[in-house]
């Protein structure tokens, strides 16, 4: 198995990775093979959401995903998400609403929220969006500014 290269459509670009161990987590492939460190490593046990990426458009935890289990899939990280219109609007909403403090949780929030908003017209209700972020921990902001940012981002992409 190990000799077959791993293929991902990473942030829209087909990429091939050689010699990826079967046990490697998608999080590590992204951070240390692709060098995309925007995806943060927090707990590695599925509890914090800092490692959230989009797999075929769905928010997924890259720390609990084996890289080979998404072979051939489209994986979008915060670097890719924030190149798109929706991601840009989300970043702007976070920035303008004071939703970024230490920032360690922020890429996870940005990816998850962008994933929930992208290609959905009309966008889901603010309540549904907030439900969608229940797995993302933030220790700094108390979530209040993040909630304001979510409402603002939703308005912006309408």
């Amino acid at each position: 198995m190990t000799d077959r290269p791993l293929k991902l459509v990473l942030n829209g670009t087909p990429r091939t990775f050689e010699e990826v161990p079967d046990a490697e987590r998608l999080l590590d492939t992204i951070r240390w093979r692709a060098g995309l460190k925007g995806t943060k490593e927090g707990c590695r046990t599925g509890d914090c959401g800092a490692c959230t990426v989009l797999v075929n458009g769905d928010p997924s935890l890259s720390c609990l995903t084996l890289a080979r289990e998404v072979d051939g899939d489209a994986v979008t990280t915060v670097e890719g998400v924030t190149r798109e219109t929706v991601g840009r609007a989300v970043v702007k909403a976070f920035e303008e609403n004071g939703a970024v403090q230490c920032g360690y949780c922020t890429p996870g929030f940005v990816v998850a929220l962008s994933g929930l908003l992208a290609g959905r017209s009309p966008p889901p209700s603010t309540e549904a969006l907030l439900d969608g972020l229940e797995g993302n921990l933030c220790r700094c902001t108390g979530y209040a500014a993040i909630q304001r940012a979510v409402a603002a981002a939703r308005e912006a992409v309408r």
Binding site: E41, E95, G98, L137, I146
Partner: protein, 733 residues
């Protein structure tokens, strides 16, 4: 509004944190944890680890001694235990290898033989009876504080009511989202460290002292900090990385797993608090405070927490007749460490629950009772310090209006609680600022990076902006390591803006003074940015800065000015202290909180329905930052109130070293939050600002506990206020 320059880069994932660090030739480190909480290392064999593929270095106590310039290091607290192990998971050795997987495998291959010794896992094992008189010296007591003022026995003897209660609080962890990580490199005789730290200079002196590395050969560069909350102050993982780097002659990266983060972190530890209040004719006439504080593996004489907590246990109330006594109890846990407003939330939970219950017993509305007794500006503290500008009563007055509002139509099984507290900005040693005014803008040189609250990226530039008149877009913060940046004590104690801000203010004024003299003007000029050029405006005259610089300044970059702020010493007449140390406080700030809860009378589950926080901030130099601190602090406090609890097993092992069983508040747990800023009670910071990093967490657990008492008539005496604890208090089981 774009108020923080770091927000967008962070949101885009473009900011490099310590866990992201990489260097050419870098090795990965793994720690070898002790399997017991107390024991003696009998045999440590690193050879099996060294034989593993990819391993470059393996070090234990013996290697640390030979590799560190200071020889033995800090004899009292060596890098690795030799031979006594003091807490479960304590690293006994460390390994560096080409990959993280190889390092972890090698760490498991280390052969370790330990002779287990009896474990003291908690205070109750040492003092099953409490309150009690403790004969000193006592083998498990590493700190003792005793003080008394006034005729306490007389007050209790003459009292017509004595209100006595015991409270318990658990260990709580900072849980910054970013785990500790650092990268160490030793080249020639220079030891270089990049680390996620709140205090680059403090870390440097800490390491220099404990490892014997001369401070001028140790260079610390702080990275962006992914949350600190007190947990990223002094040295924690850095010594291991430095020793490995010295052994391997290559850069070594060490990053903790979350489980290690929980097990090794220096955190708030459990306490038992006993409060007795004497009342005569409806007036409080005396108080006794007794505290047992778990200090973990703290060394004798290094415990400050007991003494520091005493002020919070007496509270912002007029008291001149009291007795305080506290013991720091040594147990087999990592040493007690600072955590956002160290031990204040716990102290205030106990005191404010006690005061609330007392008010109810006396038939006085609890908020009104506080207003009668809290310090006003002219009052003196329990330690006889002048209070000075202090807005707690104003906070309570504002809270009273909201309380009245909330009381209207309050549903059954709902209750409203009030909690209040004070904080005192810890200025630290001091700080220095270096500013460079260039033809195109201002650069502020800094040794510490932003930890999140905005005080560095936003607070300091705001100070310069206000003094100089330059727009925010023309001001930039540049970071340097401890070899290049001006000294500062670090980001803690809510001090950054309040203390370092003053250094920036002074440096800014010095810039203006130099410019005034060069212009021959009697008054200070102001600055503006015109078409990208810094322009000096003085008496209606506009001159480009470039024309005022000396040739040398033009080549260096610009006009340099320095400002220093070293905290004035605060003297305290401590003749009332019979043993140990109590601490003076300074620059008081107050906060009052209201919580409305709904209690499930059948299960004990508590839901916080809404929340309001009123804070005396002196002057809000930046409203958005203050709001962010209050919201963040309140929610962290809700975790302390409702769910956060480190649970050690009798073996000394932490039973819940993960986020699944150490419960933090999540987005959907959080109630609507109202923040009200009270101004007009000037602090010592620039324009009267007061530090706001810590105060907002302080009254939260108290407010929630008091709301539960309001809803049910029953008081819970132990944090956190979990459904099961509330159910027990309600006698449901």
């Amino acid at each position: 509004m774009r108020f923080r320059t770091d927000a967008a880069p962070k949101a885009e994932g473009a900011v490099v944190y310590a866990p992201d660090l990489e260097a050419p030739g870098m090795l990965w480190a793994a720690l070898v944890p002790s399997p017991v909480a107390h024991g003696r290392v009998v045999r440590l064999d690193l050879e099996p680890a060294r034989r593993q593929p990819g391993v470059v270095a393996a070090v234990g106590a013996a290697e640390a001694v030979s590799l560190l310039p200071g020889g033995t290091g800090d004899g009292a607290a060596p890098v690795f235990p030799s031979p006594e192990i003091l807490y479960h998971g304590q690293p006994v050795a460390a390994v560096a290898a080409e990959t993280l997987g190889a390092a972890r495998a090698a760490a498991r291959a280390v052969e370790l033989e330990v002779e287990p010794l009896p474990v003291v896992s908690g205070i109750e094992e040492v003092f099953p009876e409490w309150p009690t008189r403790v004969a000193l010296p006592h083998p498990q007591v590493v700190g003792h504080v005793h003080a008394r003022r006034g005729d306490v026995d007389g007050a209790f003897g003459a009292a017509d009511l004595v209100h006595s209660e015991t409270y318990r609080t658990p260990g709580v962890h900072q849980v910054a989202l970013e785990p500790h990580a650092c990268l160490a490199e030793v080249s020639g005789d220079t030891w270089r460290l990049r680390s996620s730290t709140q205090t680059p200079f403090g870390l440097r002196s800490d390491l220099a002292e404990s490892l014997g590395i001369p401070a001028d050969r140790l260079v610390v560069e702080g990275t962006w900090v992914g949350g600190g909350f007190g947990g990223k102050g002094g040295a924690l993982i850095e010594p291991y990385a430095l020793v490995l780097a010295a052994a391997a002659h290559r850069p070594v990266k060490l990053a903790l797993t979350y489980a290690e983060e929980f097990q090794l972190g220096r955190t708030t530890l459990p306490s038992i608090i006993r409060l007795d209040t004497a009342v005569k004719g409806g007036t409080v006439t005396g108080r006794r405070v007794r505290l047992l504080l778990d200090s973990g593996a703290s060394l004798p004489g290094r415990d400050f927490a007991v003494g520091y907590s005493m002020g919070f246990l007496l509270g912002p109330y007029r008291t001149d007749t009291f007795e305080i006594e506290g013991y720091a109890v040594r147990t087999h846990k990592p040493p007690f460490g600072p955590h956002r407003a160290p031990f204040a939330p716990q102290s205030v939970f106990a005191l404010e629950s006690h005061v609330d219950g007392l008010a109810r017993r006396l038939g006085v509305e609890p908020l009104e009772f506080r207003r009668r007794n809290v310090w006003k500006e002219k009052d003196r503290t329990a330690y006889d310090q002048p209070v000075g500008p202090f807005g707690l009563d104003a906070c309570l007055a504002a809270a009273e209006r909201t309380l009245r509002d909330w009381r209207r139509g309050l549903p059954p099984d709902h209750g409203i609680g009030v909690g209040c507290g004070f904080w005192s900005t810890n200025a630290g040693e001091g700080g220095e600022a270096r500013l460079e005014l260039r033809p195109d803008g201002l650069v502020i040189y800094e040794g510490e990076r932003e930890i999140g609250n905005g005080s560095v990226v936003r607070g300091l530039p705001t100070v310069a902006e206000k003094v100089l008149g330059l727009p925010a877009s023309a001001i930039r913060v540049a970071y340097g390591d401890t070899a290049k940046a001006p000294f500062d004590s670090g980001v803690y104690g809510s001090r950054t803006l309040a203390a370092l801000g003053q250094a920036v203010e002074r440096a800014s004024r010095a810039l203006l003074a130099t410019l005034a003299s060069r212009l021959g003007a009697a008054t200070s000029p102001t600055l503006e940015l015109r078409d990208g050029h810094v322009t000096v405006v003085s008496g209606g005259r506009r001159v480009r800065l470039a024309t005022l610089l000396t040739p040398e300044e033009r080549t260096v970059g610009g006009l340099v000015a320095e400002g220093k702020f070293y905290a004035p010493a605060h003297r305290l007449d401590t003749s009332f202290v019979t043993d140990g140390q109590v601490f003076p406080y300074r620059d008081f700030t107050g906060g009052a909180h209201l919580a409305e809860v709904a209690v499930d009378r059948e299960t004990g589950h508590v839901r916080v329905v809404r929340y309001a926080a009123f804070h005396d901030v002196g002057t809000a130099v930046d409203l958005a930052l203050v709001r962010g601190q209050v919201e963040g602090g309140v929610v962290m406090g809700l975790g302390t109130a409702l769910s956060e609890e480190m649970r050690w097993e009798p073996t000394g092992r932490l039973g819940n070293p993960d986020l699944l069983d150490y419960r933090l508040p999540r987005l959907r747990d959080v109630p609507p939050l109202q923040v009200e800023i009270i101004e007009g009670f000037a602090g010592a910071g620039p324009w009267g600002a007061k530090g706001m990093g810590e105060p907002p967490i302080i009254p939260v657990a108290a407010a929630v506990a008091n709301a539960i008492a309001d809803a049910t008539g029953t008081r819970v005496h132990e944090l956190p206020l979990t459904p099961e604890r509330v159910a027990r208090a309600l006698k449901l089981l």
